[in-house]
């Protein structure tokens, strides 16, 4: 892998490898000395054109735990507000010899543009672009789900897939890059994905996605999902009348106390509730649901660092010049140095 731009073109093999490496990175997070020298002397730039707390902090912690140098760049207070283009910003970073650029941008496709344009030689990691994709969020969700699923099955999570798991994604799919990345990745890993949301908040063409769509949350819950992922209602992107009122949205599409109790009455003791954060408590998720033992919200944040460490490690270690085509090379086992047993 040279870049991580989307989960749509991520092979099952590469996705599993990343999750397995993340499993080892998680073990490092539990040690007293939470640092590895693997990326010593490499520079990671966090290029954030959109507000973010957890993703930026998570990437920063991941890079620092791998001993990389981190430069944080926020569009506010930079020359971008003076009208600098993405190309000029990229070339500035190239001149400072950045090894990896973690980019969040309001325009869908900006990371792909950065990776394909030749403006910059660094590895590009998509940390959320417009309404397109947010691959590391999907990877950390898959990591969280895989640990839960493996624990239920009584097997180690390393090497396992999500085969047989039913995951329900609820809410504003239209504006959600998290939902898109999750649909592709979870399907690749063998899970069955269900979507539920008001028709106005489901994108055109959703019928061609590899998932089943429900227009009623309670019908979807009747399918007995193993995990329910609530999406954030993106108030900053609500530029049209998608639903009459937030109260109506909350009643029809929110994971409220009644639906939390419903999981118990249905006997779904092992169903977890996920949320990518930041949560609108009382809107798409009730406080009781967010703080219940079913909630994986904090585990997701914790796993985010491990998954991002794995991403940076896999993109930055190794001799990239020997890997002209990632997928072809990645499928072969790592060659061992002359004379050494693997």
């Amino acid at each position: 892998m040279k870049h991580l731009l989307s989960t749509q073109d991520l092979s099952a093999r590469n996705a599993l490898r990343l999750l397995d490496v993340a499993e080892e990175m998680a073990a490092v997070g539990e040690r007293e000395i939470k640092k590895l020298p693997a990326l010593r002397g490499r520079t990671v730039v966090n290029l954030f054109f959109e507000d973010s707390t957890r993703t930026r902090i998570s990437f920063e912690a991941a890079a620092k735990r791998l001993s990389a140098d981190v430069i944080n760049f926020a569009a506010k207070g930079s020359s971008v507000s003076k009208g600098e283009s993405l190309k000029d910003t990229a070339q500035t970073l190239e001149a400072m010899s950045a090894d990896a650029v973690v980019i969040r941008h309001p325009a869908s496709g900006a990371p792909a543009r950065l990776a394909a344009s030749g403006w910059i030689d660094a590895a590009v990691v998509n940390a959320g672009d417009g309404t397109h994709e947010h691959p590391t969020q999907a990877l950390l969700d898959a990591f969280t789900l895989r640990r839960h699923w493996a624990q239920l099955g009584g097997s180690p999570s390393a090497g396992s897939t999500l085969a047989g798991m039913k995951v329900l994604i609820v809410g504003d799919v239209l504006h959600s890059r998290v939902a898109r990345s999750n649909v592709w990745l979870l399907t690749t890993l063998g899970a069955e994905v269900l979507l539920a949301g008001p028709p106005t908040l489901l994108p055109v063409g959703v019928a061609s996605w590899p998932c089943t769509v429900y227009y009623n949350l309670d019908d979807a819950l009747a399918q007995r999902p193993d995990a329910v992922m609530m999406l954030r209602l993106q108030a900053e992107r609500m530029n049209a009348a998608f639903f009459p009122s937030t109260r109506e949205y909350s009643r029809r599409w929110g994971f409220d106390d009644g639906r939390l109790a419903l999981l118990d009455t249905m006997g779904l003791d092992d169903t977890v509730i996920m949320h990518p954060g930041p949560m609108n408590r009382g809107l798409e998720i009730s406080s009781a649901a967010a703080d219940s033992p079913r909630s994986t919200v904090l585990a997701q944040v914790r796993n985010g660092v491990s998954v991002r460490m794995a991403t940076l490690y896999l993109l930055l270690s190794g001799d990239q010049h020997d890997e002209p085509d990632d997928d072809l090379q990645d499928l072969q086992p790592a060659t061992t140095p002359e004379g050494r047993t693997p």
Binding site: E24, P37, A38, A158, E323, Q329, A334, G339
Partner: protein
Amino acid sequence: MTVPASESGIHKRVVLAEADIDRALTRIAHEILEANKGSRDLVLLGIPRRGFPLARRLAQKIAAVDESVDPDLITGQLDVTMYRDDLRRNPTRSPLATQLPPSGIDDKVVVLVDDVLYSGRTIRAALDALADLGRPRIVRLAVLVDRGHRELPIRADHVGKNLPTSSRERVRVHLAEIDLIGGSAVNEVVIEDRL
């Protein structure tokens, strides 16, 4: 013992057979006990992948001599991938699990176990990895084969067999726990040389 050259043009020579490996490990187990004056504070850490099964075998041999030892409680695995100095020069390696015995490694006598000692760079990485995990009282090194060609000032305390080799040759260790050759589990050390 010489095996005829295979059709791929690689000359293979078995230098240690199953019984030789077993004898060498028995001797190393006794040497470890002797050097440590018993089994007190002993921890055996295998370096993946073949160091780990070797560490387990050594622990079982130590337990056979000293009944107070539970082999599962003194063995562990130490992954050194993230500490290697050649990460940027080779295709990306996936790290493997590091598992320490429940007693930890602080103030213990840690014996690092690996299959082949060559340049010494793996052991250098292992020493760095160890320092991030705790502070052992003593660190020793046990290897099944020492093939020479050291690039760092590192030597083994316990050696199964010293093998003078040419750097062109490859030393391969096959252990039944990991290696299946032609469908059967094999224990052997082979030197391969391209003709």
